[in-house]
Symmetry: C2
Subunit: 192 residues, 2 copies
């Protein structure tokens, strides 16, 4: 069992409706030792892969992406979820349904920050149905850039996002893959 | 002129309505060398100050806070801007008007992540009217924690947020303070 899995067992809380709360170290409070571990794991697992840019989506993904960017010395771009007044440039736009917030989000990256020569490592905190990652893939493709791989902290292995991405041939690395979660007993089983 | 000020002059874009876009290195793309400089500046400027927690607000503040947390080996907490389904715990709640998005945001931190024994360094990317920082101060006070200081990357010195915070007696450190911006000529003057 790796360090992230141990943290999830110790500090994660299972809520009704298949929700795993890891607010204590990743989604609200950010514990630096966990961030360092995640960044180091991605660095090891994608060693030898050309990476010129790390792409994530606001908000929780930013901490992981920044730690990894620091470790790899590569710039980070975070996709934004809504139009803002000071974002009037050309953009790559995609859609992602948020099961947490029960709404369709418009997701965009301004055109200057991804180019056809980029090799993009997509990272995010959670992977469940894969909505956010597919939006980031779509945006990367619109830019004509290469997808170097996908790095996920916590994959919900009983949902379909990870399986689909592997079938599609992407190099997907998930540091903790949850096989089963049980709300009644507050137990979690990881894929080995 | 410091490294952040140089980056703003070289890569910042002034938009009508007193808007400074630094999406190229902070608010959309995150350049690691700038993040390292900002974290190092805060570390130096708050040296000798007891800090047990770094508090910021999603989204852009997270990158700065995470780099500083890594540098100081202190956990980060980011305030959230809207209720989510998996945030049903006790919370400290405040309000901040966003001039960018022209709406009142509810801002909250779940109670377990700030305690009366914490010494909190509040950090954010921008300070203009000080709405977000005042919400973070309010939340810190609700938790009964001590405010160790306030670290800002870019202060708009011609707006009132920074002046008020200094008058209120807070230890405020802004790495770049913009005294004047001119849209027509795309010029920026910093406070020395």
């Amino acid at each position: 069992m790796n360090y992230l899995e141990e943290k999830i067992l110790r500090e994660g809380v299972i809520r009704p409706g298949n929700i795993l709360k890891i607010d204590n170290f990743l989604n609200h409070q950010i514990q630096i030792d966990v961030m360092r571990f995640i960044a180091q794991e991605f660095k090891t697992r994608f060693a030898g892969t050309e990476i010129t840019k790390i792409l994530t989506i606001e908000a929780s993904g930013i901490a992981i992406a920044t730690m990894l960017g620091n470790s790899l010395d590569v710039p980070v771009v975070f996709a934004k979820k809504s139009e803002t007044l000071n974002s009037s440039d050309d953009k790559y736009i995609s859609q992602a349904y948020s099961f947490t917030h029960k709404k369709q989000n418009k997701v965009f990256v301004s055109a200057p920050y991804l180019s056809a020569s980029d090799h993009v490592l997509i990272v995010d905190d959670f992977l469940a149905e894969g909505e956010a990652v597919h939006a980031l893939i779509d945006i990367t493709r619109q830019a004509g850039a290469t997808i170097a791989g996908i790095g996920i902290a916590v994959e919900k292995g009983h949902q379909s996002g990870g399986r689909k991405l592997r079938e599609e041939g992407y190099h997907l690395e998930s540091i903790a893959i949850i096989e089963e979660m049980d709300y009644e007993n507050q137990t979690i089983k990881f894929r080995s």
